[in-house]
Symmetry: C2
Subunit: 315 residues, 2 copies
Amino acid sequence: MADAILLTSGASLNAEERGRLASAYPSLHVDGPDAMAGLDPAARDGIRAIAFKGHAQMSGAEMDLFPNLGVIANYGVGYDAIDVAAATERGVKVTNTPNVLNDDVADLAVAMLIAQCRTMRNGEAHVRSGAWAREGEIPLNRKVTGNTAGIVGLGRIGREIADRLAAFKMDIHYHARSEKPTPGWTYHDDVVALAEAVDFLFVALVGGPATEGYVSRAAIEALGPRGVLINISRGTTVDEGALLDALEQGKIAGAGLDVFLNEPDIDPRFLALDNVVLQPHQGSGSVETRRAMAVLQLDNIRAFLDGRELLTPVN
Amino acid sequence: MADAILLTSGASLNAEERGRLASAYPSLHVDGPDAMAGLDPAARDGIRAIAFKGHAQMSGAEMDLFPNLGVIANYGVGYDAIDVAAATERGVKVTNTPNVLNDDVADLAVAMLIAQCRTMRNGEAHVRSGAWAREGEIPLNRKVTGNTAGIVGLGRIGREIADRLAAFKMDIHYHARSEKPTPGWTYHDDVVALAEAVDFLFVALVGGPATEGYVSRAAIEALGPRGVLINISRGTTVDEGALLDALEQGKIAGAGLDVFLNEPDIDPRFLALDNVVLQPHQGSGSVETRRAMAVLQLDNIRAFLDGRELLTPVN
């Protein structure tokens, strides 16, 4: 096989994405890291780049299957499925696809908040079932504009969310590792203090071990009975058991969730709840954005194989 | 009966709203204009103000039932149910409740757009039915940020919508009776030309005979197969038959509708459509906003009965 073989990994690369990669470089495809050991050793020797997609873990053991591996190009901004420390030890570069998905994720975050506060799911069901004509109006619900919003993790996506919320006349508060230059937003050095100060809490942290359960039971309960939590980051960043308890017991008003532990086999306790908006981790799921992500993934691989500087390196 | 009797009209005034009015002034309650003729003539003589709510027509004939009527205070910004010309002829003042509901209506408009483009109804069903775990991801959908938006009717609500959309990095176009001072938004003197120029068309017209079918079949078709129409004004402002045809035939991509002809007995053709977000005319339906509307309605009545200037007169 040729020198620069590319392995496309992850079951969820779609036909267009596979086609774009395969037409650029000779490529092999496997359904995720578990299938890598089953490849012929000679084929493995040829692999210099991995186009990675999905949430199955890619650890040092899988990297060691490819003696000539130079780059793992992740599809997505979150690369918590890849053991970056193990990659760095082995001299393997990791790239991701930041920025191109910020808008989509922020759009969905804002819409989940409004859908939850304005009971849009109930509204839609009320129209479609004919209950509107039979029973009259739906119960009054909750105003969105003018409340106070908190952002946990003021990275690129957090800022996009905050910029949109500012147009809804919200005071913006945030928590991050350090205070940042912002247009008058209020910094809190503690996530519990942030939750206490706001009506709506948006979780926009990176995933991975460092942020596991970062939005703690104490933070969730500090939001209070009028509080709404929106998570578009990773299921791991929030204490999910505490969140379910709070939602079931009315300790907070509601939630909008695009991410969960053990996706897509999510905790069935969520399905019994009426005070949540549930989305299937589709934050970046527009045609336009997924195409931009696939192109950036491929451009990182091209840059590596051409010996140029990587566009969006992680390590 | 006392001199300043108030008649609360409209079946949909809730207990809190009735209570607020009744504790302020001696009051009678009837379920809408049809029931007015059934009141005792002596009681009718005492009526000086009508607190009006609902969409049943209040014409000159009903006004003539109340020889001492001075003001009809409408609950809502849209007063197309009230024959204002007939009121003016009779020296009867009409008031409405503008501004206090702008935020809620604009919030819902934006959320309907995102929900439609990002297929949030399908996303929610996918999670709740377990299809996510069984079948994988939902189909990719449509990016919202960065498109071009058009506003038909750049009044107070239209401006609130445009201000929010600007935070989603949209170019704003609009059509109104005349060009207005705006932050760089593009004016079109024709609604068809506006529809041709934009991806998303928001209808924020006042209701009434002057705007009946204003968003015409030609305008709807000019939006094109990628176009999305959002209506938060009145069902009358859009040629609804043409809209249904366009949605059924894929001449436009979708719609988000909070208002319909013949609410709540809406055309069943809507219920067969998957490319629409349907809400039960709940644009102003938050607890906070409805309370503000009821207070402003009562404050207009107070001002009239005290001989002070009306807060938000229509005629």
